[in-house]
Amino acid sequence: MSKKVLMRGSQAIGEAAVRAGCRFYAGYPITPQNELTEYMAEAMDGLNDGTFIQAESELAAINMVIGASMAGARAMTSSSSPGISLKQEGISFLAAQELPAVIVNTMRGGPGLGNIAPSQSDYFQATRGGGHGDYRTIVLAPASGQELADLTRTAFEYADKYRSPVLILGDGMMGQMMEPIVFPEPIDVRTFSPKSWILDGAKGRPSRIILSLLLNPPEQEDLNWRLARKYEIITREIPMSESYMTSDANMIVIAYGTAARIAKGAVKRVRELGLKVGLLRPITLWPFPNRPLKELSRHVREFLVFEMNMGQMIDDVKLALEGRGNVHFYGRPGGIISTPDEIAKTINSIYHRQHLEED
Protein backbone atom coordinates (compact mmCIF):
# COMPACT_ATOMS: atom_id res chain seq x y z
CA MET A 1 0.00 0.00 0.00
CA SER A 2 1.16 3.52 -0.72
CA LYS A 3 2.27 5.90 1.98
CA LYS A 4 -0.05 8.53 3.38
CA VAL A 5 0.63 11.89 1.74
CA LEU A 6 -0.67 15.39 2.26
CA MET A 7 -1.96 16.73 -1.00
CA ARG A 8 -4.22 19.40 -2.43
CA GLY A 9 -7.53 18.06 -3.78
CA SER A 10 -6.92 19.15 -7.37
CA GLN A 11 -3.51 17.51 -7.39
CA ALA A 12 -4.92 14.39 -5.78
CA ILE A 13 -7.25 14.00 -8.75
CA GLY A 14 -4.25 14.35 -11.05
CA GLU A 15 -2.17 11.77 -9.22
CA ALA A 16 -5.11 9.36 -8.98
CA ALA A 17 -5.80 9.82 -12.70
CA VAL A 18 -2.22 8.96 -13.61
CA ARG A 19 -2.38 5.91 -11.34
CA ALA A 20 -5.65 4.92 -13.03
CA GLY A 21 -3.80 4.83 -16.34
CA CYS A 22 -4.82 8.24 -17.67
CA ARG A 23 -2.32 9.06 -20.38
CA PHE A 24 -4.02 11.96 -22.10
CA TYR A 25 -4.99 15.27 -20.61
CA ALA A 26 -6.06 18.45 -22.37
CA GLY A 27 -7.18 21.54 -20.49
CA TYR A 28 -7.48 25.29 -20.44
CA PRO A 29 -6.60 27.55 -17.49
CA ILE A 30 -9.43 28.53 -15.17
CA THR A 31 -9.52 29.17 -11.43
CA PRO A 32 -10.00 27.41 -9.02
CA GLN A 33 -8.64 24.26 -10.64
CA ASN A 34 -5.37 25.31 -12.30
CA GLU A 35 -3.39 23.13 -9.91
CA LEU A 36 -4.88 20.06 -11.62
CA THR A 37 -3.89 21.25 -15.09
CA GLU A 38 -0.41 22.11 -13.83
CA TYR A 39 -0.10 18.75 -12.10
CA MET A 40 -1.02 16.92 -15.30
CA ALA A 41 1.52 18.95 -17.28
CA GLU A 42 4.26 17.82 -14.96
CA ALA A 43 3.02 14.25 -14.61
CA MET A 44 2.60 13.63 -18.34
CA ASP A 45 5.99 15.16 -19.00
CA GLY A 46 7.48 12.51 -16.75
CA LEU A 47 5.83 9.61 -18.60
CA ASN A 48 7.09 8.34 -21.92
CA ASP A 49 3.56 7.49 -23.06
CA GLY A 50 1.71 10.49 -21.64
CA THR A 51 0.29 13.48 -23.51
CA PHE A 52 -0.51 16.87 -22.03
CA ILE A 53 -1.88 19.65 -24.20
CA GLN A 54 -2.74 23.12 -23.03
CA ALA A 55 -5.57 23.66 -25.46
CA GLU A 56 -6.54 26.95 -27.09
CA SER A 57 -10.05 26.66 -25.67
CA GLU A 58 -12.29 24.52 -23.51
CA LEU A 59 -13.92 23.29 -26.70
CA ALA A 60 -10.63 22.24 -28.21
CA ALA A 61 -9.70 20.47 -24.96
CA ILE A 62 -12.83 18.33 -24.83
CA ASN A 63 -12.54 17.56 -28.54
CA MET A 64 -8.93 16.47 -28.12
CA VAL A 65 -10.22 14.16 -25.39
CA ILE A 66 -12.77 12.80 -27.89
CA GLY A 67 -9.93 12.02 -30.29
CA ALA A 68 -7.75 10.42 -27.63
CA SER A 69 -10.67 8.34 -26.41
CA MET A 70 -11.43 7.20 -29.97
CA ALA A 71 -7.81 6.10 -30.18
CA GLY A 72 -8.16 4.09 -26.97
CA ALA A 73 -6.48 6.26 -24.34
CA ARG A 74 -7.79 6.83 -20.86
CA ALA A 75 -8.36 10.55 -21.27
CA MET A 76 -9.33 13.41 -19.00
CA THR A 77 -10.08 17.09 -19.09
CA SER A 78 -11.00 19.46 -16.30
CA SER A 79 -12.39 22.91 -15.78
CA SER A 80 -14.57 25.04 -13.57
CA SER A 81 -18.19 26.06 -14.12
CA PRO A 82 -18.02 28.53 -17.07
CA GLY A 83 -15.50 26.27 -18.78
CA ILE A 84 -17.70 23.24 -18.30
CA SER A 85 -20.52 25.10 -20.05
CA LEU A 86 -18.23 25.45 -23.05
CA LYS A 87 -17.39 21.75 -22.98
CA GLN A 88 -21.00 20.64 -23.16
CA GLU A 89 -20.94 20.17 -26.94
CA GLY A 90 -18.19 17.63 -26.56
CA ILE A 91 -19.85 15.88 -23.62
CA SER A 92 -22.97 15.37 -25.72
CA PHE A 93 -20.80 13.86 -28.47
CA LEU A 94 -19.01 11.60 -25.98
CA ALA A 95 -22.39 10.33 -24.82
CA ALA A 96 -23.66 9.81 -28.37
CA GLN A 97 -20.48 8.17 -29.61
CA GLU A 98 -20.29 6.09 -26.42
CA LEU A 99 -16.76 7.20 -25.69
CA PRO A 100 -15.22 6.90 -22.22
CA ALA A 101 -13.79 10.08 -20.73
CA VAL A 102 -13.40 11.69 -17.34
CA ILE A 103 -14.34 15.34 -16.90
CA VAL A 104 -13.65 17.21 -13.67
CA ASN A 105 -15.76 20.21 -12.70
CA THR A 106 -14.41 22.22 -9.79
CA MET A 107 -17.54 24.28 -9.27
CA ARG A 108 -17.54 27.98 -8.51
CA GLY A 109 -20.25 30.56 -7.98
CA GLY A 110 -22.47 31.39 -10.95
CA PRO A 111 -24.33 32.03 -13.25
CA GLY A 112 -22.20 33.88 -15.76
CA LEU A 113 -18.62 34.45 -14.80
CA GLY A 114 -19.69 34.34 -11.17
CA ASN A 115 -16.77 34.11 -8.79
CA ILE A 116 -14.07 31.62 -7.86
CA ALA A 117 -15.43 30.63 -4.45
CA PRO A 118 -16.69 27.11 -3.70
CA SER A 119 -20.23 26.52 -4.86
CA GLN A 120 -22.60 23.77 -5.95
CA SER A 121 -24.27 25.81 -8.65
CA ASP A 122 -23.89 23.26 -11.45
CA TYR A 123 -25.93 20.34 -10.06
CA PHE A 124 -28.65 20.73 -12.69
CA GLN A 125 -26.13 21.03 -15.50
CA ALA A 126 -24.22 17.98 -14.28
CA THR A 127 -27.13 15.66 -13.62
CA ARG A 128 -29.55 16.74 -16.34
CA GLY A 129 -27.16 16.24 -19.22
CA GLY A 130 -25.86 19.76 -19.72
CA GLY A 131 -25.44 19.42 -23.45
CA HIS A 132 -28.13 18.78 -26.03
CA GLY A 133 -29.82 15.47 -26.63
CA ASP A 134 -31.29 12.56 -24.75
CA TYR A 135 -28.43 11.38 -22.57
CA ARG A 136 -27.13 11.03 -19.04
CA THR A 137 -23.70 11.54 -17.51
CA ILE A 138 -22.46 9.58 -14.52
CA VAL A 139 -21.75 12.14 -11.78
CA LEU A 140 -19.51 11.40 -8.79
CA ALA A 141 -19.38 13.81 -5.84
CA PRO A 142 -16.40 13.27 -3.52
CA ALA A 143 -16.35 14.90 -0.10
CA SER A 144 -12.75 14.33 1.03
CA GLY A 145 -9.24 14.16 -0.32
CA GLN A 146 -9.26 10.38 0.02
CA GLU A 147 -12.53 10.14 -1.84
CA LEU A 148 -11.19 12.39 -4.61
CA ALA A 149 -8.42 9.87 -5.13
CA ASP A 150 -10.66 6.80 -4.86
CA LEU A 151 -13.48 8.16 -7.02
CA THR A 152 -11.06 9.30 -9.71
CA ARG A 153 -10.04 5.64 -10.08
CA THR A 154 -13.72 4.67 -10.06
CA ALA A 155 -14.49 7.33 -12.67
CA PHE A 156 -12.04 5.83 -15.16
CA GLU A 157 -13.37 2.34 -14.47
CA TYR A 158 -16.99 3.38 -15.00
CA ALA A 159 -16.07 5.38 -18.10
CA ASP A 160 -14.55 2.29 -19.71
CA LYS A 161 -17.10 -0.17 -18.38
CA TYR A 162 -20.12 1.80 -19.53
CA ARG A 163 -18.41 3.61 -22.42
CA SER A 164 -19.68 6.89 -21.09
CA PRO A 165 -18.41 10.28 -19.97
CA VAL A 166 -18.05 10.45 -16.20
CA LEU A 167 -18.12 13.75 -14.38
CA ILE A 168 -16.32 14.33 -11.11
CA LEU A 169 -18.14 17.16 -9.39
CA GLY A 170 -16.07 19.00 -6.82
CA ASP A 171 -15.85 22.61 -5.77
CA GLY A 172 -13.23 25.23 -5.05
CA MET A 173 -12.82 24.07 -1.48
CA MET A 174 -12.44 20.40 -2.37
CA GLY A 175 -9.88 21.42 -4.97
CA GLN A 176 -7.79 23.64 -2.71
CA MET A 177 -7.97 21.79 0.59
CA MET A 178 -5.16 19.45 1.57
CA GLU A 179 -5.92 16.23 3.41
CA PRO A 180 -4.02 13.02 4.06
CA ILE A 181 -4.46 10.62 1.17
CA VAL A 182 -3.43 7.03 0.57
CA PHE A 183 -3.40 6.47 -3.17
CA PRO A 184 -4.42 3.20 -4.78
CA GLU A 185 -1.56 1.34 -6.45
CA PRO A 186 -0.96 2.34 -10.07
CA ILE A 187 -2.41 0.10 -12.72
CA ASP A 188 -0.99 -0.61 -16.15
CA VAL A 189 -3.81 -0.37 -18.68
CA ARG A 190 -1.57 -2.04 -21.26
CA THR A 191 -2.22 -5.29 -19.41
CA PHE A 192 -5.96 -4.89 -20.04
CA SER A 193 -7.52 -6.67 -23.00
CA PRO A 194 -7.62 -4.20 -25.89
CA LYS A 195 -10.84 -2.27 -26.42
CA SER A 196 -12.81 -3.79 -29.29
CA TRP A 197 -14.15 -0.59 -30.74
CA ILE A 198 -11.26 1.89 -30.93
CA LEU A 199 -9.90 3.54 -34.05
CA ASP A 200 -6.30 2.43 -34.46
CA GLY A 201 -6.21 1.55 -38.14
CA ALA A 202 -8.11 -1.27 -39.84
CA LYS A 203 -5.27 -3.73 -40.06
CA GLY A 204 -6.48 -7.30 -40.41
CA ARG A 205 -10.02 -6.35 -39.48
CA PRO A 206 -12.96 -4.49 -41.03
CA SER A 207 -12.80 -0.71 -40.74
CA ARG A 208 -14.67 0.91 -37.86
CA ILE A 209 -16.80 4.01 -37.62
CA ILE A 210 -17.49 6.13 -34.55
CA LEU A 211 -20.28 8.53 -35.32
CA SER A 212 -23.23 10.36 -33.87
CA LEU A 213 -25.06 11.45 -37.03
CA LEU A 214 -28.01 9.13 -37.53
CA LEU A 215 -30.16 10.75 -40.19
CA ASN A 216 -32.53 7.83 -40.35
CA PRO A 217 -34.98 8.22 -37.42
CA PRO A 218 -35.23 4.47 -36.68
CA GLU A 219 -31.43 4.33 -36.35
CA GLN A 220 -31.42 7.32 -34.01
CA GLU A 221 -34.21 5.67 -32.05
CA ASP A 222 -32.10 2.51 -31.80
CA LEU A 223 -29.22 4.51 -30.33
CA ASN A 224 -31.55 6.22 -27.86
CA TRP A 225 -32.95 2.86 -26.80
CA ARG A 226 -29.48 1.40 -26.45
CA LEU A 227 -28.41 4.37 -24.32
CA ALA A 228 -31.60 4.13 -22.24
CA ARG A 229 -30.96 0.44 -21.54
CA LYS A 230 -27.39 1.28 -20.57
CA TYR A 231 -28.59 4.04 -18.24
CA GLU A 232 -31.02 1.57 -16.68
CA ILE A 233 -28.15 -0.82 -15.95
CA ILE A 234 -26.06 2.03 -14.51
CA THR A 235 -28.99 3.13 -12.37
CA ARG A 236 -29.22 -0.40 -11.01
CA GLU A 237 -25.52 -0.99 -10.52
CA ILE A 238 -23.75 2.08 -9.21
CA PRO A 239 -25.80 4.32 -6.88
CA MET A 240 -23.61 5.15 -3.90
CA SER A 241 -24.27 7.03 -0.70
CA GLU A 242 -23.07 7.37 2.87
CA SER A 243 -25.48 7.13 5.79
CA TYR A 244 -24.43 8.79 9.04
CA MET A 245 -26.44 8.23 12.23
CA THR A 246 -29.60 7.45 10.29
CA SER A 247 -30.77 4.26 12.01
CA ASP A 248 -32.76 5.90 14.81
CA ALA A 249 -33.16 9.31 13.19
CA ASN A 250 -36.48 11.07 12.89
CA MET A 251 -35.02 13.80 10.75
CA ILE A 252 -32.59 13.42 7.87
CA VAL A 253 -30.27 16.00 6.36
CA ILE A 254 -29.33 15.40 2.71
CA ALA A 255 -26.20 17.04 1.36
CA TYR A 256 -23.26 16.16 -0.90
CA GLY A 257 -19.63 17.19 -1.32
CA THR A 258 -18.44 20.14 0.75
CA ALA A 259 -21.99 20.83 1.96
CA ALA A 260 -22.15 17.28 3.34
CA ARG A 261 -19.03 17.84 5.45
CA ILE A 262 -20.57 20.93 7.00
CA ALA A 263 -23.88 19.11 7.48
CA LYS A 264 -22.13 16.19 9.16
CA GLY A 265 -20.56 18.58 11.65
CA ALA A 266 -24.01 20.05 12.29
CA VAL A 267 -25.57 16.60 12.77
CA LYS A 268 -22.88 15.73 15.29
CA ARG A 269 -23.59 18.97 17.16
CA VAL A 270 -27.36 18.49 17.37
CA ARG A 271 -26.90 14.84 18.37
CA GLU A 272 -25.00 16.12 21.39
CA LEU A 273 -28.14 18.10 22.23
CA GLY A 274 -30.23 14.93 22.00
CA LEU A 275 -31.80 15.54 18.61
CA LYS A 276 -32.18 12.34 16.61
CA VAL A 277 -30.89 13.59 13.28
CA GLY A 278 -28.96 11.70 10.61
CA LEU A 279 -27.23 12.53 7.33
CA LEU A 280 -27.61 10.94 3.94
CA ARG A 281 -24.76 11.91 1.63
CA PRO A 282 -25.24 11.02 -2.05
CA ILE A 283 -21.89 10.05 -3.58
CA THR A 284 -23.31 9.40 -7.04
CA LEU A 285 -25.50 12.34 -8.03
CA TRP A 286 -26.54 10.57 -11.20
CA PRO A 287 -27.71 7.93 -10.72
CA PHE A 288 -29.23 9.40 -7.57
CA PRO A 289 -29.31 7.03 -4.58
CA ASN A 290 -33.10 6.76 -4.46
CA ARG A 291 -33.29 3.52 -2.51
CA PRO A 292 -31.80 4.61 0.85
CA LEU A 293 -34.00 7.70 0.83
CA LYS A 294 -37.07 5.66 0.02
CA GLU A 295 -36.26 3.29 2.86
CA LEU A 296 -35.67 6.13 5.30
CA SER A 297 -39.02 7.63 4.36
CA ARG A 298 -40.75 4.63 5.98
CA HIS A 299 -39.98 5.96 9.44
CA VAL A 300 -38.72 9.52 8.89
CA ARG A 301 -41.03 12.41 8.08
CA GLU A 302 -38.75 15.45 8.07
CA PHE A 303 -36.03 15.92 5.46
CA LEU A 304 -33.73 18.90 5.19
CA VAL A 305 -31.82 19.42 1.96
CA PHE A 306 -28.73 21.57 2.33
CA GLU A 307 -26.96 22.78 -0.79
CA MET A 308 -24.53 25.54 -1.70
CA ASN A 309 -27.05 26.85 -4.23
CA MET A 310 -30.68 27.94 -4.24
CA GLY A 311 -32.13 24.44 -4.47
CA GLN A 312 -31.22 21.97 -7.20
CA MET A 313 -30.67 18.51 -5.69
CA ILE A 314 -33.89 19.04 -3.76
CA ASP A 315 -35.74 18.07 -6.96
CA ASP A 316 -34.09 14.64 -6.91
CA VAL A 317 -34.78 14.24 -3.21
CA LYS A 318 -38.47 14.92 -3.83
CA LEU A 319 -38.51 12.46 -6.72
CA ALA A 320 -36.89 9.80 -4.52
CA LEU A 321 -39.37 10.41 -1.68
CA GLU A 322 -42.34 10.19 -4.06
CA GLY A 323 -44.38 12.61 -2.02
CA ARG A 324 -43.68 11.12 1.39
CA GLY A 325 -42.46 13.37 4.19
CA ASN A 326 -41.82 17.10 4.38
CA VAL A 327 -38.87 18.39 2.41
CA HIS A 328 -37.24 21.52 3.83
CA PHE A 329 -34.45 23.45 2.20
CA TYR A 330 -31.52 25.51 3.34
CA GLY A 331 -29.11 26.93 0.80
CA ARG A 332 -26.16 29.30 0.67
CA PRO A 333 -25.29 30.25 -2.91
CA GLY A 334 -22.64 32.55 -4.28
CA GLY A 335 -19.59 30.83 -2.86
CA ILE A 336 -20.45 31.20 0.82
CA ILE A 337 -19.41 28.26 3.00
CA SER A 338 -21.89 27.87 5.85
CA THR A 339 -20.72 26.99 9.33
CA PRO A 340 -21.89 23.79 11.02
CA ASP A 341 -23.45 26.09 13.61
CA GLU A 342 -25.62 27.74 11.01
CA ILE A 343 -26.92 24.36 9.79
CA ALA A 344 -27.35 23.15 13.36
CA LYS A 345 -29.59 26.15 14.08
CA THR A 346 -31.68 25.39 11.01
CA ILE A 347 -31.99 21.74 12.02
CA ASN A 348 -32.94 22.78 15.52
CA SER A 349 -35.60 25.14 14.36
CA ILE A 350 -37.26 22.60 12.04
CA TYR A 351 -36.89 19.86 14.61
CA HIS A 352 -38.74 21.77 17.29
CA ARG A 353 -41.32 23.30 14.98
CA GLN A 354 -42.27 19.78 13.94
CA HIS A 355 -42.37 18.62 17.63
CA LEU A 356 -39.96 15.77 17.00
CA GLU A 357 -39.09 13.58 19.93
CA GLU A 358 -35.68 13.98 21.60
CA ASP A 359 -33.52 11.45 23.38
Binding site: T31, P32, G172, M177, M178, P180, R261, G265, I337, T339
Partner: protein, 182 residues
Protein backbone atom coordinates in the same frame (compact mmCIF):
# COMPACT_ATOMS: atom_id res chain seq x y z
CA UNK B 1 -10.18 19.42 17.55
CA UNK B 2 -8.04 22.52 17.25
CA UNK B 3 -8.20 25.00 14.40
CA UNK B 4 -5.45 27.51 13.69
CA UNK B 5 -5.39 30.39 11.27
CA UNK B 6 -2.06 31.66 9.94
CA UNK B 7 -2.28 35.09 8.34
CA UNK B 8 0.04 37.78 7.00
CA UNK B 9 1.51 39.23 3.83
CA UNK B 10 2.47 37.06 0.89
CA UNK B 11 6.18 36.25 1.20
CA UNK B 12 6.18 35.95 4.99
CA UNK B 13 6.03 32.18 4.79
CA UNK B 14 2.51 32.07 6.17
CA UNK B 15 1.34 29.16 4.02
CA UNK B 16 4.59 27.34 4.75
CA UNK B 17 3.94 27.55 8.50
CA UNK B 18 0.47 26.07 8.08
CA UNK B 19 1.56 23.41 5.66
CA UNK B 20 4.45 22.32 7.86
CA UNK B 21 2.21 22.12 10.91
CA UNK B 22 -0.38 20.10 8.96
CA UNK B 23 2.23 17.68 7.64
CA UNK B 24 3.81 17.22 11.07
CA UNK B 25 0.46 16.51 12.69
CA UNK B 26 -0.46 14.09 9.92
CA UNK B 27 2.76 12.19 10.52
CA UNK B 28 1.90 12.17 14.23
CA UNK B 29 -1.15 10.16 13.20
CA UNK B 30 -3.74 12.92 13.57
CA UNK B 31 -6.60 13.76 11.29
CA UNK B 32 -5.86 17.05 9.58
CA UNK B 33 -7.11 19.48 6.98
CA UNK B 34 -5.15 22.35 5.47
CA UNK B 35 -7.11 25.02 3.62
CA UNK B 36 -5.23 27.87 1.95
CA UNK B 37 -6.93 31.01 0.73
CA UNK B 38 -6.72 31.01 -3.02
CA UNK B 39 -7.26 32.84 -6.27
CA UNK B 40 -7.97 36.54 -6.37
CA UNK B 41 -7.72 36.69 -2.61
CA UNK B 42 -4.14 35.47 -2.89
CA UNK B 43 -3.23 38.07 -5.48
CA UNK B 44 -4.18 40.88 -3.11
CA UNK B 45 -0.86 40.42 -1.35
CA UNK B 46 -2.31 38.83 1.78
CA UNK B 47 -1.99 35.16 2.55
CA UNK B 48 -3.79 33.00 5.01
CA UNK B 49 -4.51 29.38 5.68
CA UNK B 50 -6.41 27.28 8.16
CA UNK B 51 -5.15 24.06 9.74
CA UNK B 52 -7.48 21.74 11.63
CA UNK B 53 -5.96 19.01 13.80
CA UNK B 54 -8.09 16.37 15.47
CA UNK B 55 -8.23 12.81 16.78
CA UNK B 56 -11.53 12.35 14.95
CA UNK B 57 -12.91 12.96 11.48
CA UNK B 58 -12.80 16.67 10.59
CA UNK B 59 -15.99 17.97 9.03
CA UNK B 60 -15.54 21.62 8.12
CA UNK B 61 -11.98 22.67 7.26
CA UNK B 62 -13.06 26.30 7.61
CA UNK B 63 -12.44 28.08 10.88
CA UNK B 64 -15.30 30.39 11.73
CA UNK B 65 -13.98 30.65 15.30
CA UNK B 66 -10.41 29.37 15.38
CA UNK B 67 -8.73 28.28 18.61
CA UNK B 68 -5.49 29.93 17.57
CA UNK B 69 -4.42 32.68 15.20
CA UNK B 70 -0.83 33.32 14.17
CA UNK B 71 -0.78 36.91 12.99
CA UNK B 72 2.09 38.38 11.00
CA UNK B 73 0.78 41.87 10.17
CA UNK B 74 -1.73 44.52 11.25
CA UNK B 75 -4.35 43.92 8.52
CA UNK B 76 -4.53 40.26 9.54
CA UNK B 77 -5.06 41.21 13.17
CA UNK B 78 -7.97 43.42 12.16
CA UNK B 79 -9.44 40.55 10.17
CA UNK B 80 -9.03 37.77 12.73
CA UNK B 81 -9.04 39.36 16.19
CA UNK B 82 -12.81 39.15 16.56
CA UNK B 83 -13.01 35.64 15.11
CA UNK B 84 -10.79 33.79 17.60
CA UNK B 85 -12.98 31.87 20.00
CA UNK B 86 -13.29 32.96 23.59
CA UNK B 87 -10.45 31.36 25.55
CA UNK B 88 -8.33 31.07 22.42
CA UNK B 89 -4.85 32.46 21.81
CA UNK B 90 -3.46 34.97 19.34
CA UNK B 91 0.25 34.78 18.51
CA UNK B 92 1.60 37.93 16.97
CA UNK B 93 4.88 38.81 15.35
CA UNK B 94 5.11 41.84 17.60
CA UNK B 95 7.94 43.34 15.55
CA UNK B 96 5.31 44.09 12.89
CA UNK B 97 1.97 43.86 14.66
CA UNK B 98 1.74 47.12 16.54
CA UNK B 99 -2.02 47.44 16.84
CA UNK B 100 -3.33 46.84 20.34
CA UNK B 101 -5.66 43.93 21.01
CA UNK B 102 -8.88 44.98 22.73
CA UNK B 103 -10.26 41.61 23.83
CA UNK B 104 -9.70 40.33 27.36
CA UNK B 105 -11.25 36.88 26.89
CA UNK B 106 -8.31 35.58 24.88
CA UNK B 107 -4.59 35.14 25.53
CA UNK B 108 -2.06 37.06 23.51
CA UNK B 109 1.49 35.89 23.01
CA UNK B 110 3.76 38.47 21.44
CA UNK B 111 6.92 37.24 19.76
CA UNK B 112 9.23 39.86 18.23
CA UNK B 113 10.11 37.31 15.57
CA UNK B 114 11.44 39.76 12.97
CA UNK B 115 13.72 41.41 15.53
CA UNK B 116 14.98 38.06 16.75
CA UNK B 117 15.65 36.99 13.18
CA UNK B 118 17.49 40.22 12.46
CA UNK B 119 19.63 39.68 15.53
CA UNK B 120 20.45 36.21 14.23
CA UNK B 121 21.12 37.80 10.81
CA UNK B 122 18.67 35.36 9.24
CA UNK B 123 15.46 37.13 8.33
CA UNK B 124 14.40 34.10 6.30
CA UNK B 125 13.61 32.18 9.47
CA UNK B 126 11.12 34.66 10.92
CA UNK B 127 8.29 32.24 10.18
CA UNK B 128 10.20 29.36 11.82
CA UNK B 129 10.66 31.40 14.97
CA UNK B 130 6.91 32.01 15.04
CA UNK B 131 6.18 28.35 14.36
CA UNK B 132 8.60 27.20 17.06
CA UNK B 133 6.94 29.49 19.59
CA UNK B 134 3.49 28.36 18.46
CA UNK B 135 4.27 24.65 18.71
CA UNK B 136 6.06 25.00 22.05
CA UNK B 137 3.06 26.82 23.50
CA UNK B 138 0.21 24.77 22.00
CA UNK B 139 1.85 21.31 21.93
CA UNK B 140 -0.22 20.53 18.83
CA UNK B 141 2.82 18.63 17.62
CA UNK B 142 6.51 18.43 18.53
CA UNK B 143 9.47 20.35 17.19
CA UNK B 144 10.94 17.05 16.03
CA UNK B 145 7.81 16.33 14.01
CA UNK B 146 8.07 19.82 12.53
CA UNK B 147 11.71 19.13 11.60
CA UNK B 148 10.76 15.82 9.99
CA UNK B 149 8.00 17.57 8.06
CA UNK B 150 10.45 20.24 6.89
CA UNK B 151 12.95 17.71 5.63
CA UNK B 152 10.13 15.83 3.91
CA UNK B 153 9.17 19.06 2.15
CA UNK B 154 12.79 19.80 1.18
CA UNK B 155 13.20 16.17 0.08
CA UNK B 156 16.61 15.90 1.70
CA UNK B 157 18.06 18.91 -0.11
CA UNK B 158 19.28 22.14 1.46
CA UNK B 159 20.71 20.71 4.67
CA UNK B 160 22.16 24.13 5.51
CA UNK B 161 18.70 25.59 5.47
CA UNK B 162 17.52 22.72 7.66
CA UNK B 163 20.00 23.65 10.36
CA UNK B 164 18.83 27.22 10.09
CA UNK B 165 15.20 26.17 10.36
CA UNK B 166 16.01 24.19 13.49
CA UNK B 167 17.70 27.20 14.97
CA UNK B 168 14.63 29.32 14.24
CA UNK B 169 12.26 26.77 15.74
CA UNK B 170 14.37 26.36 18.88
CA UNK B 171 14.80 30.09 19.36
CA UNK B 172 11.05 30.65 19.05
CA UNK B 173 10.31 27.79 21.43
CA UNK B 174 12.80 29.04 23.96
CA UNK B 175 11.32 32.49 23.75
CA UNK B 176 7.87 31.38 24.86
CA UNK B 177 9.04 28.74 27.31
CA UNK B 178 11.60 30.82 29.13
CA UNK B 179 9.95 34.16 28.80
CA UNK B 180 11.26 37.01 26.78
CA UNK B 181 15.04 36.54 27.25
CA UNK B 182 16.69 36.22 23.90
Amino acid sequence: MKKTVFAGFGGQGVLMMGYTLALAAMDDGKEITYLPAYGAEMRGGTANCTVAISDEEIFSPVASSPDYAVIMNNPSLIKYESMVRSGGTIFTNSSLVTKTIGRDDISVIRIPASDIAKKLKEERITNMIMLGAFVAQTQLTSLDSIMNALSEIAKGKKSGLMKLNRKGLDTGAEYVLKGAQV
